[in-house]
Point group: C4
Chain length 225, copies 4
């Protein structure tokens, strides 16, 4: 894939963030790794989503040097780069301050795995990493240390980062972590939600990971044919 | 009605779910029973609502075998089938993880009948069924056991299922259960809502069921003409 | 004004309810009194807002007899009529189950007057009337007994009614009561909001009622010219 | 810049308020100072945002006398003027009753600086000024006394005012104060958020103020090139 095409996909991915209600004003950003593995395309710093075009996207190398771009790269670029350098399965990263995920992060708490949707998407609680200063290597390092097999991590007193093997999966994790964060927040305000048993978490994660979106999605088919 | 026409209606019904804010990403699904009684049409597994067309809908028989379809059926197909097999008054089923209904479900609590709107739509509290694993027969069985005369049921630590004699009524129940779940959640956070007396629940349910949407909807007419 | 024109305005007023997020599915209704004083135009019972047209509106006399209409009138028609019969300053009535106003109503509590916006719009707390059964005269009577000078009243375990000297003012009260109900709900969950002093309530209500929307809206002008 | 052009920008700025969900009905207002320094353009009093045009904007001098305008100026004009007279770095003022900011204001509490986004945008807690009566000089004076270096201030039992060196920055502060107010409200309902250490607040505010939106936005670039 040419960088031109990746710029278009990264721009489209960034525009999905306000459409899903995950960002305010110029906040949030999405990046993706080029097939060559030595370039990322990322949202520019401090630009409104309105009228954002592929030409506004910034290309940097893995040390953060600007390769192409009429704007500076996102102020979270170092954090994205740290993830790409440490996890070669990650091809896209999303960062937001989406409201309810960030509310859990404000308290430094993981989102407990009390719903089937959480076991499906995250394979357990959504972890919360410790506080790390924006702009340097600290955030990327803390994410690598704490994210485990989850595609999403809360960062204490900051916001949320999600990762994926492609843009769609990183976006999906950003949408779903906010969705379950809001539901669990609403539940927690009424009472004390109880985590699912480990064997249910494992069964849900396995089904969702291996059969969802396939011809064998429904047990009926598997069991009866 | 031809299956082609039912595919269109089921597709349109599924597209109503994001329009009413009841689902996130690929979550949720709606199905309907064909007039023949031996086929259902259901949303495909793991597909985004964007650009979903009638051709994407999947036709399965009551044992879950795919009859027509370019995708696999929803991973909740077995749960839908269990309801159709057990309740011959049901012609459509909706499943969502809508936020506030699922918050009550996270705690395993029914929604108490403290508002006229709840007595109108549900004839009493919205019941909450026990936890059951996704993908097999357990969810359908628990729904049949616990739903009673309500068109909606919460499923513990999972989400909500609604049923109806047609697509519109199943959709209505999905919209209304989220609406009353949110209102009752908001009330419960401020204090302790008190259930309506049984005779008021009965009077409201009777009025809504027998006169709503008719020429005698208003008592004025009944009483004065 | 001809009834044809009033049908159009009442239809447009009803369509404003979903646009402002005040209603779900077929819930809620708006009516207006004809200039003749012996007819009201009201939303039909149990019809979706989608594709609602002026022809769907129902004309009834003050005893609730259908004068014109292809559908039955709203099941809340008797409540609207009771208000028109008892308050000749009222030319339009709105009824909704908007979420946060109804949350206060679920508890049977008035919304305390702790914000300038509440003193401006309602001249004091938004009152909450006692529970009354839908469909007969009881609701209208309770509203007349309890609404005072406020353009909005919560009805216990039911929802909200608003009144105005015209459609726009009744709609405004429906929008504003939900807005302040949500803000006060959010405040109340964090602490104990304190009512404004009586003299501040009086000063705000006077300014808003007599100068807002006029050339003397700003004190600067009044004081300095 | 001609006043005609400023009318267009002020109209557009006011129309951004409902688009960002910050206002209800006719509430809220935005003004800007003319380059000449002796005129402001402000939203008219009591007009709906629907169909608002540049011609509806009102031009007043710094004493509040109407210079041009077919409507009266906003009833908050005196408060805007007080800010412009006291702070010559301010070229635009926004006032709203946005829900979550106003919930904090209802309690007379500042929004504590527990998130990086708050240190970025506001350089510390968002302050809350004391109660002051609408329409005279009291609100402007209290804002000048209490706002400090923050671009936003809550006003007790009233709402929020934001300021900026231009319309976009005042709007940004209005959007961001509601965003962080909602997130902190959600966090506070679950637990006790802890403020960031002073050195983290200082580091974030410095980075955001001096590098955000520039070619050096990312530390990677600064550190490695």
């Amino acid at each position: 894939m040419m960088l031109r095409e990746l710029r278009e996909q990264v721009c489209e991915g960034n525009l999905a963030l306000p459409r899903h209600g995950l960002v305010a004003w110029t906040g949030g950003n999405l990046s993706a790794l080029a097939d060559s593995g030595d370039r990322i395309v990322i949202k520019p710093s401090g630009r409104l989503y309105t009228d954002m075009t592929p030409e506004d996207m910034v290309v940097v190398d893995l040390d953060g040097r600007i390769i192409e771009g009429i704007h500076g790269p996102s102020s979270d670029t170092s954090s994205h780069l740290g993830i790409y350098r440490g996890r070669d399965d990650v091809k896209s990263v999303v960062h937001t301050h989406s409201t309810y995920a960030t509310a859990w992060a404000a308290l430094g708490e993981e989102i407990p795995c009390c719903l089937t949707a959480i076991s499906d998407e995250f394979g357990g609680p959504v972890p919360c990493g410790g506080y790390a200063r924006i702009g340097g290597d600290a955030i990327g390092e803390e994410i690598l240390r704490s994210i485990g097999r989850s595609p999403a991590i809360l960062m204490k007193q900051h916001g949320v980062f999600t990762i994926g093997p492609g843009i769609q999966k990183a976006l999906q994790a950003a949408v779903m972590v906010e969705d379950v964060a809001r539901t669990m927040w609403a539940a927690r305000l009424m009472g004390t939600p109880i985590p699912l048993p480990e064997e249910e978490i494992a069964a849900n994660f396995d089904r969702y990971t291996h059969r969802y979106g396939t011809a064998q999605a429904s047990e009926g088919v598997t069991g009866n044919v």
